[in-house]
Symmetry: C3
Subunit: 451 residues, 3 copies
């Protein structure tokens, strides 16, 4: 199974434009961890890939947490004495502290002031703030906007509702030959922020589309969930699925212009960690591998000690380390088609490794087989030994049943796809056979059972 | 159990002055590996902490060695024709080769010359020399002193005794909840040398005083012993105690102005080695970790293959690497109060780790517990995630029963005390429980039994 | 057992001159993977060391390969219209593509041109080419020679035979106290090339001569074989011997002026790998350790997965990385006596380690034994502690039965011979005893059995 292998630069640009265009469609929606914006977003994804939608009622206990009230918002503004909306939710949904309780009041600027949030260092940017678990309200605005406010009385309206309802999340399942699963998870709760995380959402959707129709070794489960509470809700309600997860990725921040950052799973040496390191090492793109830490995105939940799932997190810029993070500057200009496409290709390359990382046995283990008589060696003494031939020698030498192709790629320093091609050719020549010819990986990396 | 935690800079200086003052009291005594100077020294320590004194008779076999004759000295000098003492033991006890046999003779300079030892590179310093196991005699003097000697006849007197007696050592035992022991060992055999090893002696005494009255997990055994033969004698006579040693430190050279050197135990990765590395890493003080080697102080005996005890050696300057080593320049000016206090604090920090290095179990291992509802998270979305919160997340994430707090400190890169505070708070919140709630470590690190 | 230990610089130069002289004798012979040149070469080796010659008939299957036809050549040339030999095998046997089929033809330059091989970058050098497994013919010549050829008709003669015959290889066996074997292998198939591999051949021969008459722990087997097919033939016909191989070296390229390169066995941490690393580390000669790769010399066969023998490859310059490689510039000037002797000494130092790498037990494991009373310590307090004494302390400290002398050399950073001398002295003093006093290593490093 090879994904995207055939795509050239122009096709990738086309894919990138399509990813960006989908992000642009989703951008204006006011999402949150519950509510209609989230449902509308999932509806638009559902028009591309089949989704199974779950609705978890307010008040449902999910491990140590409880599903909160559902939040919806129609309008919100701060109006001055002349009736002018000086802060207007209709212009940008970041203007409201996400999950703000309803308010209708007249108040002087000095009363309102503690509920106004700005970024003095970036006076034109609107910050993104939330208050999910503590009922509160407030407005976010640019620092310049606030400086322009006169010391007068304002009409303050937040036309929102907070009441019993549901938390919504969606799953897309791609069945493979094995019930063993690869989990792809992205958070879908952020409103008009492009990199965090429309980028992850559109890349995940496109990856699901690309997998469709392939004869897959693993099954793939895509989760489109609100951050933290969504992952916790899903984990608490899907014990069976959890036990099948062999590899997983959280996708986020995949559209900006910086190099890749891959945060390893808690295990640190899981196959997904090694596969991602392999892809990035040969990508030609600047990148860094980050050790696991218990702060970040939903890998926090997947890698909690009771689960300890082999789930890493692929990002470009790391949360909190770039100025645009959680501000209105994380907009559609901040994510670029080529970068989204490159992120997608990184994901497909990892899938290619997971799908093909089998172990083989050299059927002529005593001395080298004579490659020349099979047309697998150089044709003449004067020719250089190509990397392809070296790859064949590595595969033959290390295929004693104990090394997977990824092991061989790592030890040889050659690219996984070169090693994989060599293995294919040697199988065709009858020199190699798969250790496990059911085509599926038998050994799963020790998923922990629920107690 | 936290030691010294509450002490501020001024209190530490006060402690340092007290340590230096005690060293000054002990400085003039002519100690050796046996004899009255050693007894007098132990008597002065015994006025601060309760000591159990042992006297081992001359001739007693201790493993491959034999307790030597007891050495005592009243006076010694070289007198010129005018009756002037040109070398005088009363002025400095280093003037005598330690363990010199008695002599009364008149001899010409050229006869005396082979028995005079100087340091030409440091013409004002007196070297320190011994001849414990080969009966001999000699004088040490400054090179300038020797150059001033005229080619004449001298009266040479060493009024010493070498006869049947005892080797004396002392122990101070601080009982803890467990019989498992931490060994603190320092050599007390050097005469007027301050860093080597009054510094180790006064720091050990102060550590013993500080431990007094604390509810301790481990029991602590302090050894005040003559170097080599003392350690060998103690080991040969204390099989039962040896089997309880879980961690140990040799303390020496702790007063000079250089950074710390910690020489690891023979095991190299014992808990004491990791605890010391952790303390030094976060100390802000220049330091180096040295691999074990079989040459040095009494760790040579504790780490001999039959024992292989997890005992390291904490020093500032390393023996033999600084010019003042084993000379009269290793005097009370060479050791400073602030440096002694810092050494003591390093020891107490290590004790804090050993005492608190328990393993815990996260009682909500599936996903993160909701810290916010317990007041353990940041109060608002705008606040930064403090190091204290990160520490809580690390403790929760890694507390699966298999990681101790030191493991967590090492993996997180956070200071042990920060991790320890987080564990305390999480226990109070009911989110964590100690794996071993008897308060004592059950597993000891494989102390070797006598055959 | 110590080899060469007593030889000084002048003796080594003498040895080097002797090695070079033997290479010079062998240089003119036209060797190949079969044929009379190979037999003649083995005959000349056999006048120095006893050889067992094997002849494997053409057509014999050896694993995946088949013994090819035997090749012999009497003469070959390209003659111009005036009867002048413009390319003449009698002047240099590299002029013929090795294994060229017989030819007698008249042809125009443009017809001949595709069968002429040169090195444009080095216009005076003749390349070395072969065509063992594809019946073909051709000439190698200097680029300047070719440029001088006029566009005329030439008489082309290769007076060779390709027919049923034998592949010849030779073994020299030095019996030791154990049947466990050390394999020394060198390829003997290259014609007039000095470094590749007359150098390996003469060093191996000299090593065999040096071993003669020694009381050896291991048995030693020297293989003088044609590359690839020779190693494969030997392995396929010597299952019993293979099972006794505990350590092995391929020797090649040992005469040039560059530093040493040691390519590790597939295992990477075999005793031979560690012994060679130890020798090179203390050699004072520039060197590099190379990780195993499945391309190179006959270690490819010994390290194929079915065998996985602990066989490394000692070289100076690495194949293919120096311009003289496989050209007429790899001549007798390219290899120097001093370099050949140094290579031999490197081999004997490795043998010294293998022969002496026993494990000992400290008979006084509790505390240090008193070295002073045995005259094994410094004589006075003022003397420095010599490296010899430090070595004794290391041997005593680590000789708990679990560490070999090589382990101790590695951990201490001291030279193996210093550690070995210390062990000898401590044994003589009754402080140490060999764990295995049968003088032979009992545990072999897991040689794989034939299935």
């Amino acid at each position: 199974m090879r994904l995207l292998k055939e795509f050239d630069r122009e096709e990738l640009m086309e894919i990138g434009r399509s990813l960006h265009s989908f992000a642009a469609d989703l951008y204006p929606i006011c999402r949150s961890i519950t509510g209609e914006g989230l449902r509308q977003t999932l509806g638009m994804i559902g028009r591309r890939i089949a989704l199974q939608i779950s609705e978890v009622p307010t008040g449902t206990p999910v491990f140590d947490w409880t599903i909160p009230k559902e939040w919806n918002i129609r309008d919100a503004y701060i109006k001055d004495a002349t009736g002018n909306r000086v802060v207007d939710f209709q212009r940008c949904n970041l203007h409201i502290v996400n999950y703000s309780a309803p308010v209708r009041a007249k108040m002087a600027l000095h009363e309102l002031r503690p509920r106004l949030f700005t970024i003095p260092e970036h006076p034109d940017w609107i910050p993104y703030r939330t208050s999910y678990y503590k009922e509160d309200w407030g407005f976010c605005l640019s620092h310049n906007q606030m400086l322009a406010l006169k010391d007068a009385e304002y009409e303050v309206v937040i036309d929102s509702t907070l009441g019993d309802g549901h938390l919504t999340y969606a799953e897309h399942y791609v069945p493979g030959r094995s019930k063993d699963e690869v989990l792809i998870s992205c958070h879908t709760c952020h409103p008009s922020l492009a990199n965090d995380n429309l980028s992850g959402l559109v890349v995940a959707t496109a990856l699901a589309e690309l997998l469709s129709g392939h004869d897959l070794c693993y099954s793939y489960r895509f989760l489109f969930i609100p951050g933290t509470i969504g992952a916790i809700a899903w984990l608490s309600r899907n014990h069976d699925a959890v036990e099948h997860i062999c590899h997983g990725l959280v996708l986020t921040g995949l559209g900006d212009g910086r190099g890749f950052h891959y945060k390893k799973s808690r295990r640190g040496d899981a196959e997904i960690d090694r596969a991602m390191a392999q892809v990035l090492r040969h990508s030609g793109i600047a990148h860094a591998l980050l050790e696991f830490s218990p702060y970040g995105y939903d890998e926090r939940q997947y890698c909690s000690p009771g689960f300890n799932l082999p789930v890493g997190c692929l990002m470009r810029s790391v949360w909190g380390t770039f100025p645009e993070y959680h501000t209105s500057a994380d907009n559609l200009d901040f994510i670029q088609p080529a970068q989204l496409a490159e992120s997608l290709r990184t994901c497909t390359s990892v899938v290619d490794i997971l799908e093909n990382n089998h172990s083989y046995r050299n059927l002529n283990p005593y001395c080298e087989p004579q490659l020349g008589k099979r047309g697998l060696y150089r044709s003449g003494d004067g020719e250089a030994i190509s990397e392809d031939i070296i790859a064949r020698l590595w595969v033959l030498n290390l295929s004693d049943g104990g090394n997977s192709l990824l092991d061989i790629a790592e030890r040889s320093g050659l690219k996984f796809s070169t090693i994989n091609d060599a293995a294919d050719l040697l199988c065709q020549s009858g020199l190699l056979s798969a250790v496990d010819d059911q085509g599926a990986r038998i050994q799963r990396p020790g998923c922990i059972s629920f107690e």
